[in-house]
Symmetry: C2
């Protein structure tokens, strides 16, 4: 409802005289849509795979042409136009398992990996396998608050019940086991909570879970026999000084039996997120750990009906997991784009440290006057704020009410995977509007 | 079961001393996998979209560079890495509707078109919408015999009942309304037949339906209130001298009310098939006609969870529907590859005229001795034939028993979308083997 209102408002604005040069849309995680430039190496390799005569084009770096040749050799008929194998190209599934083994220091089996048409598709298919029952027996999925919008929509569409657990903003959006337990017990009155959904690094929170926190969560899942769905698509985007990404697979394996042999886990990754941001190419993977063989069989069946990513998408995944190495001709250009975070010290606005992911989730401390004004207009306060921000400055952000938040708190989400000069403009517009807004509603 | 047996047989052969130079696999419709070369224009446009500096590369034709620029302008941030809109890029949906309007002389509404990750995915999702009930109420789908394998697998996995109707081989694999009626009435004893699945041009039959035949089928569907699923992915592949492709949409529209306003139809098309054969790029579309608004709403919902094709796939579809025109620099090179059919006059083998599609479905008239030999080995006769063909000559074809056929008949399927020199080799191997085989089993 709100989204449509917001969107139609935005569309109306397109036809009005604007007070600003252009609209900047940082409301969603669509990096290329916001002007982030693709990585040259990735695109050169793909262009060469599409048009193999480029293998002889000496204006392209040698490692690009060699990489394209070796990837084409993995395709039937040496063409990316040939059907990929069900569950993903053999070479790509093996690249994923090599990547995971190297990342975790724990062996990964290619047979547990399925390549999909984006990680969201894999999430939905895995969810579907776990959903059953009605009433008290209906599958419940513990879902973080805040959380990006489409997950909850997808979950409900698959017939599951969303069981919210609140991340602790005051402690930097940490996952608290007491809160998981509270949510679980509350849910048992009306459904059968079987799945725990975790996003690490967080969207929109920007929190990166510590190893100790992951261990706690795994112990909790083991006690309560929960299936863990670990959405780890921002794993390549960790930039906090003291933060490090630990995968659920690694921590689970290192905890040893009975955890490492019993806790069921599905972990997701994607080419859409992080510094690469190739969302339009639609490719991701899921690794399944400790799945019941019966469930595994159904998983294979569910993925066999054209959930499969295109060959160019799979090649992009392969290149993401095997970037150029020091000494390679393309290494220098393949500069990992670090997300630039500017501290902001505005009154009436706070932000927890952002250690990973591609979002900033700013808390608005709105005055009574502002909240009453929103109530008069029958709008959530942060939606009103976002609409006014768009109207006054052309800056489009996502209001917290769309991402769920603790009752009585208000937020806005800004995507950080945005070119630096645009980000400066974003912060400038936000700052000048915010100061006017708090002056208007003191 | 048979497939696995066949495949393992094939794999065992890989390790054996072979009597032939290499294996030629014409068993499935994977044109690029079999060495068919991609169309230069398509691949040059895509390479330029991936790596936009190629826009300035004067070794590429001007129309390629202009086309790439105009397609990039349709992407957010002018990058194919940005998220496409749900249901498909606006530009591509509109290109599809323009193509259909031009093809049929009947207006097509872009809102009735959804772009999908391959036409099979769209088929499965539409099927899923129509499947309901158990026992006598379970949705039945009238399905042609012969038919490619994965459709029946997908149909059963979605919880529908496959209701076979036999194409009339003696009359060139035509669809006979009496046979549809027989199949329907027989099915009413055990399920609720609601859907009629048609493949035109046929796979594997190579039959192209006449306008009169389509009218008959539509009248039958109207009487029996069947939802028509028209698989028209081979529409670009009609080469019979007196054959012409008529879409179900066109014929339905021209029949006028009550047909044109009542009969529910979903029509499918794809970049995977025909002379382009870009199966690895995973893109297709469905056009929905006369759908109940309630069903339409569910269709939109079903397609909203990442059934979406990648942007490169969508661009490929756009280029397929808008090929270079006479006078364009790339027109001369964009030579439509015509499928080469060699008449064969072998004893014990017949083939109905092939007017479209990319397959040849050859009938084997096997001797009593051959059939008894197969029975001794507990194999379907055409599976035995195919295994021996592979073993002796390295030629891999699909046995008719895998594609369903009338009891007591035997066939093999060969994909024709194969480079000409390979096709010659295919026919040579087939001929020499066949003559040996009928000598062995007189």
């Amino acid at each position: 409802m709100h989204v449509f209102m917001y969107l139609s408002h935005w569309l109306v604005l397109q036809g009005l005289v604007k007070r600003y040069k252009d609209v900047i849309d940082v409301s969603s995680g669509n990096p290329h849509g916001m002007g982030l430039k693709p990585l040259t190496f990735v695109r050169q390799v793909l262009a060469t795979c599409f048009y193999p005569p480029l293998v002889h084009d000496e204006s392209l770096p040698l490692d690009v042409r060699q990489r394209a040749q070796s990837l084409l050799a993995e395709c039937d008929g040496e063409s990316i136009g040939s059907y990929p194998a069900t569950y993903g190209m053999k070479h790509v599934r093996s690249s994923v398992s090599t990547f995971i083994t190297r990342r975790d220091g724990v062996v990964s089996d290619p047979d547990n990996i399925i390549i999909s048409n984006g990680s969201q598709h894999a999430l939905i298919l895995i969810l579907k396998l776990l959903v059953q029952g009605r009433g008290l027996q209906q599958t419940g999925v513990l879902t973080p608050v805040p959380c990006y919008r489409s997950f909850n929509k997808g979950l409900v569409a698959q017939g599951a019940v969303s069981v919210p657990y609140y991340l602790c903003e005051e402690q930097g959006w940490t996952v608290q086991v007491e809160e998981l337990r509270r949510a679980l017990q509350a849910a048992r009155g009306h459904c059968n909570p079987m799945v725990l959904y975790i996003i690490n690094p967080g969207n929109p929170s920007g929190h990166v879970q510590s190893k100790a926190s992951i261990e706690e969560v795994i112990r909790f899942a083991a006690e309560e026999r929960l299936f863990i769905m670990a959405d780890e698509v921002y794993q390549g985007c960790v930039f906090g000084k003291d933060s490090e990404f630990y995968s659920y697979k690694k921590v689970l394996s290192e905890m040893g039996p009975p955890y490492s042999t019993n806790v069921e886990l599905a972990s997701f990754h994607s080419v859409s997120k992080g510094f690469m941001g190739e969302s339009g190419l639609r490719c991701g993977y899921v690794e399944m750990v400790n799945l019941d063989p019966q469930v595994m069989r159904y998983a294979y069946q569910a993925f066999s009906f054209n959930a499969l990513a295109s060959v160019p998408g799979q090649i992009t995944l392969d290149v993401m997991l095997n970037p150029p190495q020091p000494g390679d001709p393309s290494y220098a250009v393949y500069a990992q784009k670090k997300i630039n975070i500017t501290e902001n010290g505005l009154p009436g606005m706070t932000c927890q440290p952002i250690n990973g992911g591609i979002f900033m989730f700013l808390r608005l401390h709105l005055s009574k006057a502002a909240i009453e004004h929103a109530e008069e207009k029958d709008l959530e306060p942060d939606l009103l704020y976002s609409m006014r921000l768009l109207e006054d400055t052309g800056l489009c952000v996502a209001p917290g009410c769309e991402l769920r938040q603790k009752q009585g708190t208000h937020h806005i989400r800004i995507c950080l995977a945005t070119p630096e000069e645009i980000m400066e403009d974003v912060l400038h517009r936000l700052k000048s509007f915010h100061l006017r807004f708090i002056k208007e509603f003191p």
